[in-house]
Symmetry: C2
Subunit: 336 residues, 2 copies
């Protein structure tokens, strides 16, 4: 049998279990050209909250009473498509389900000998690419500059900080927990960290970022960003990657207007989503894979067992629960 999660109503504010429903039905058959994939790892990511809102943004919203989709790493268990063979490991946007049928479009083969296959959803997957293109193409960090990363213990933030270190920058991470900050300093070699729940971000940043901020990689928005905005250097670059502080707002968020801060520093602010760089994905995968192999890029995964726990894993993202990439393990890699 196949278990699938449907979105049965749209969250207002923080998502809850009530928004999701598990449906069980027979494993689907496939037609000519199609591939049947059994899910091993399912990715939950903050951007999904936007798609649950029903508002048209850069991606179309999830439809009500339809199966949710996510980044999935799985194994081909049936194929009527010449490009994919039984037993191959693949990654693609598939269903919140045990099994998915796909045309193979957008499906990427994952070589299990290069790196653990779960990394295809993290450091060498969408979050890794998001970090790579945002930091390098928009942030353009130069040796000796200071890069500040908010939400820096997440799947994207951890990669951003490490790439900035590879580029010779001073890296300051902002998170909401001492445990996360210890990980960033001790294992990822961040130069400094701030716990926004305990410290006044502006004062802490003045102290820990004495040369100001050249690049601000922003995953969170809100008051943390207000504080960083006051310490920008001339020609600073703000990479707007996410606004996790706002995803669950039911009303528009208000804050200090930022145009004047930008003007005082001739600063740039650029938002993006990773698909803006679709044509350069292979470059990104190659470079990220190389850095992982060289040990320059390490990662941590937070793995929750069982498809049935996918909603909780997703909701946990907004409670700051995960260090690194949040995954749901749907079946054992070696039990297929």
């Amino acid at each position: 049998m196949n278990r699938e999660f449907l979105l049965v109503n749209r969250p207002s504010g923080m998502p809850t279990d009530e928004n999701f429903q598990l449906r069980t039905s027979p494993i689907p058959g496939i037609s000519d050209g199609e591939v049947l994939v059994q899910t091993i790892y399912l990715s939950v990511d903050p951007y999904m909250r936007g798609r649950m809102s029903g508002i048209k943004t850069y991606t179309s919203p999830f439809e009500l009473n339809k199966v949710l989709t996510a980044g999935v790493v799985g194994r081909v268990i049936d194929s009527k498509n010449n490009e994919f063979q039984m037993g191959e490991i693949v990654e693609g946007r598939l269903n919140w389900a045990d099994y998915s049928v796909t045309s193979g479009k957008g499906l990427r083969k994952v070589d299990p000998n290069l790196a653990p296959i779960s990394t295809a959803l993290g450091v060498v997957g969408m979050p890794g690419l998001t970090a790579y293109f945002g930091l390098l193409d928009i942030g353009k960090p130069k040796e000796g500059e200071t890069v500040v990363v908010s939400g820096s213990a997440g799947a994207v933030g951890t990669v951003v900080g490490q790439i900035a270190k590879i580029y010779g920058c001073r890296v300051v991470g902002i998170t909401g927990s001492d445990e996360k900050n210890a990980y960033l300093k001790n294992e990822l070699d961040f130069d400094a960290t701030i716990n926004y729940k305990k410290e006044n971000v502006k004062e802490a940043l003045k102290e820990k970022s004495p040369n100001g901020v050249d690049v601000y990689f922003d995953n969170v928005g809100g008051e943390i960003s207000d504080a960083v905005m006051r310490l920008l250097n001339f020609q600073a670059r703000i990479v707007v990657c996410g606004v996790i502080s706002e995803y669950n707002n039911t009303e528009a968020a208000y804050g200090p207007r930022i145009q004047r801060f930008l003007l005082n520093r001739s600063a740039l602010m650029k938002a993006y989503i990773v698909s803006d760089y679709y044509e350069r994905f292979n470059e990104g995968y190659e470079q990220l894979g190389k850095w992982v192999k060289e040990g320059k890029l390490t990662y941590r995964e937070n793995i929750i067992d069982g498809l049935e726990n996918a909603p909780q894993a997703f909701i946990g993202l907004f409670h700051g629960e995960n260090i690194g990439k949040q995954l749901v393990k749907v079946c054992e890699e070696d039990k297929l």
Copy 2:
């Protein structure tokens, strides 16, 4: 005798006459290497408000009880500098005064046979360069795109709109008066205009900018910009040139946070000041001069007579009084 304006106290909110004081003293002599310039036209510009605040931004603040500086077009009436001869017309950052002594650094010669010399403070001066580099280098308008300009009847906005037309764009101007809008439509060939004092900007923009907004050239900030932000197209570019709606605020301005709007459209927002492009000024002067000569770029000047009225001319900028470039005529061109 020489009359000079000093800044005697810093404005809180809207500037008033009380902030300025006229001092009379003998015309200064010059030393080796120096030039004495008699002011013909004095430029007043919104950016000066920032310098009066005493807050260090991109330019150093005006000092209290010192003579104010401004863009000046004048005539060399004495010179101990080989590069400048008596009788030559020059433009540079000089004093709010009848006469200024300068080392000649940053002083530019103005050819009175190419165009009226006053244009060296406007369409072929700092405001023209501001429009040229901001629109083309940041806004990067493409043929057929829609360019929205706020503060569009000012010295910068009028040039922005006309360059956008040269580039084949649909141009929508936002001002606070029907008279200004008639000028933009009838004389500068803008495609549409909005009077923000009479119209709901968002609704009007939906109607007058049916294909959305690709480039937003922002001189004003505040609620007008909030409205435009809701109609951005994918990969839109926002050129942050000024925030005239905020210059006289005594407290930080609050408004809807914009990161989310940027994210939904992968939009760019870049602030700048014209001096960021210092090394390309000659390119700008040449192109602007060429367009003026070809009749592709027209301009209007609002001229107030008498140095003694400079503070009023400056304050008028914040009441939306001027169409085109606001100048103060300090002496007649031909009466030197």
